[in-house]
């Protein structure tokens, strides 16, 4: 299973999904109307490292995080 977390202002509980890459995660989240806007402006980290390809392979135990727009300081 892969754990998916939604950080900062995204008001959504973590998911436990049986997926093997980020394409599958995209398909699942695109069906969630609450997530539509967040998908457009959020970055994605796997095991706390930002990733830049949807083909990124996921394995059992991986942790995916969605990071919406930031503003520290």
């Amino acid at each position: 299973m892969v754990k998916v977390e939604f950080l900062g202002p995204i008001q959504k509980e973590p998911l436990e999904l049986d997926i093997t890459n980020l394409n599958e995660l995209a398909t699942i989240l695109q069906d969630d109307p609450q997530m539509k806007e967040w998908l457009e402006n959020s970055a994605v980290a796997v095991n706390d490292t930002l990733v830049s390809s949807r083909d990124f392979a996921l394995k059992d135990g991986d942790k995916v995080a969605l990071l919406p727009p930031v503003c520290g300081g």
Binding site: G8, L22, N41, V44, L50, L67, P69, V70, G72, G73
Partner: protein
């Protein structure tokens, strides 16, 4: 040397501690940047969420870059609520020579604003409202859209 605090920062004490901690390291330049909550849009203050695992990695990458130039970076940030005229952020560069420090503090603070996994909320009328319009999408955002 990344320090997270609950609530506002004690700026004089942090600036003093950092100065004294490097007093014998033979750095010629010490440049802190202090960020303070401004009164605008009738807010009562700001509030911050931090995702520490990625913040730590981001900070360590910068510390490595600084080290290559013989410099050191320190950073402090608030978690939770920080009220008007209180401070939520300090970044500081120490380096042997001034040019490195002046350039580093600018690059570091700008990348911090664009990349550090920290989310800001306005405190207004008892509500905590995400400051989307002042926030920046991290590079590579939209991957799943």
């Amino acid at each position: 040397m990344l320090y997270l605090y609950d609530g506002s920062l004690d700026v004089p004490t942090i600036l003093k501690d950092w100065y004294e901690s490097e007093a014998n390291s033979n750095y010629g330049a010490y440049i802190p940047f202090v960020g303070t909550v401004r009164s605008e849009d009738e807010i009562d203050g700001l509030s911050f969420d931090i995702y520490e695992p990625i913040l730590n990695k981001w900070f360590n990458d910068w510390q490595d870059k600084a080290k290559e130039k013989g410099a050191v970076i320190k950073m402090a940030h608030s978690r939770g609520d920080v009220m008007l005229h209180e401070s939520s952020y300090i970044a500081a560069v120490f380096s042997p020579k001034r040019r490195v420090a002046l350039e580093f503090i600018d690059e570091f603070v700008e990348d911090f604003k664009a990349s550090a996994p920290i989310w800001k909320y306005d405190l207004k009328d008892g509500q905590r409202v995400y400051a989307l319009d002042r926030s920046t999408a991290i590079k590579g955002s939209g991957l799943l859209s």
